[in-house]
Amino acid sequence: MSRDALEVDNTLQQFNELLQRVKELPISQQELLDEMIRIVSTTLKVAQSPPDRIMVWTEMLARTREAFERGQSGDAQRKQSLPSILEDFKDESDVGRAIGIAQIPDDVLGALLTGRHLRSASRIAIVVFNKTWEKNVPIYGTMLSEWRSSPGKVSLEGVRFYFEEDDALVSLFSCGDPLVIEDIEQDRRFEQITHDLIDRTCTVGLILYPLVAGGKWYGMLTVHYDEAISRDIIPAIRGLLDQAAVAIYTMLLFEAEAKARQNAEQANDHKMKLLATISHEMRTPLTSIKGFATTLLADDVEWSPDSQRDFVETINQEADKLTELIEHVLSHSRLEAGTLPIMPTRRQLQDIISVGIAQLQTLAANHELRIRIPPDLPPVCADQRRIAQVLTNLVKNAVEYSPQQAEVAITASTRGEYIQVDVSDQGLGIPAEERVHIFKAFHRGTRARETQKKGAGLGLAICKGIIEAHGGEIWVRGRSEPGTTISFTLPVFEADESDEIHGNDRSDY
């Protein structure tokens, strides 16, 4: 043993001797305690113990003195022997140290179990609320970590306790103090459902201790005993459990931060991929534009007027494709950011289609375009330009993936507070497993891959963004015949609504 340890050991021995004397001699306790404190502090300083150990001892002794004085003031229930008080404080220090080095909630429970009052528990569990307990009761608590004295005991893992099911429990627990059930069999304050839950765990004595940290009441510790307990246990374990509360909260925060960071990194990755895809896609039309422009400019060849015209037309077509790509990318970004201007007004679907009909017919030049809108279809709340964009996109897809002369149909019907529009084709169809994915940005489905269609894969994502901003839904309809039907809904216009209902920003391009 080192010299320091010997000294401390020595001090402890003196201490114990003094304790014995407390029981025997009728001298003033206060003087005695002062003497004890002085001896210990002096000895520890002389022994050059590490400062934190001195602090701990000094603190312990100061609190011992307070507790002893409290005890002597006559409150019989609170009377605790001096050795007992000291043991509790030592416990707190040791267990506190163990909690300090814990890395996961399980470790915290492990540390708590070394405390002398918790050793006899049959189960300890950390329960986290789904939201901070404030005025409104949190809906449920979920168990985060659990220790059982034997694996044979029923585990409550995955069980959610819905607090609203027991008002008595809620009102007792709400004041922020620990709730002690000394003997569940004698305690008639609670609803049967609470009894049932407790019964499953063969618990007799139960403590529900609120976990508070950072000003937030975020969960509770449940400590179960096989036998009846006394609420006197609480002062002895408060310190430990409060330390545990802070440690657990820190762990939860770290976990939340780590997850947030992971999400941010994924979002960043997504953005990087997006940029790479866009720049790649843009090079294709640019290659034709640059190519044919430089072709015309080359002075070692003379091109016929027909060729010249042909090249210039190609440049023009490719410029259009590039424009479309850029617009798609912009629309998609703005939809994601919620800044795409969408200004729904009262519109008839028929009018929206009429305005865009020329473009639709051009797209469907090699197909049979059929439009069937019931004349009594109610007006909708829609941004004409954006819905026309959706229809154009859907018809374009329908045309691309179906054989020439096949039918492409736009139909509509009323569905309660919505109208439903269906765009159908008789083409390749979409495999069932892809139906959810086709609306995701940059998704290029098997149809696209197999038919070698180029494009960034944003069209349907944009449709989805626009429809959902209108409060509608868009989906692929299951059907038995070959081909695809994509349906979307739009809300029927209500006479008493103001013209502009959606929160999308009005900023201009």
């Binding site: 034709s288 060729s307 891959r449």
Partner: protein
């Protein structure tokens, strides 16, 4: 530029307008041009037309340009031909030249100008 015996260039590129660009420029300068819009047809043309040079797009749906190069090196009945690769990515371009595909003699990075196309083709043929 006149040639006594027309040199044949095979263009494998799935984008019609890019293919047309390469094709009209080469044809106007006296080359005999053969086209394919996918790698499978490209392989067939390699066997049938016996080109002197191949311009190959790397990123094509289905069988890629690299798959074609693998086939070229593995199959005996496909002659080795100098290859000029077209790609949109500069990174891929660097990889190509160091890649250990010995037939790749040059790289064109999109967008390509007409003069650059012509001088690259001429250069690749002169070297071989």
């Amino acid at each position: 530029m006149t040639k006594f015996m027309a040199t044949t260039v095979l263009i494998i590129e799935d984008e019609a307008n890019i293919r047309k660009f390469a094709s009209v420029n080469l044809a106007a300068r006296g080359y005999n041009v053969v086209e394919a819009d996918n790698a499978q047809d490209g392989l067939r043309q390699l066997r049938d037309a016996r080109p002197d040079l191949m311009i190959l797009d790397i990123r094509m749906p289905g069988m890629s340009g690299l798959d074609l190069l693998d086939a070229m090196s593995q199959e005996q009945d496909i002659p080795a031909v100098p290859v000029v690769v077209i790609t949109a990515s500069e990174g891929a371009a660097d990889n190509m030249l160091e890649s250990g595909y010995p037939d790749i003699v040059d790289v064109l990075i999109k967008p390509v100008s007409a003069p650059r196309l012509i001088e690259t083709v001429a250069g690749a043929l002169a070297d071989s």
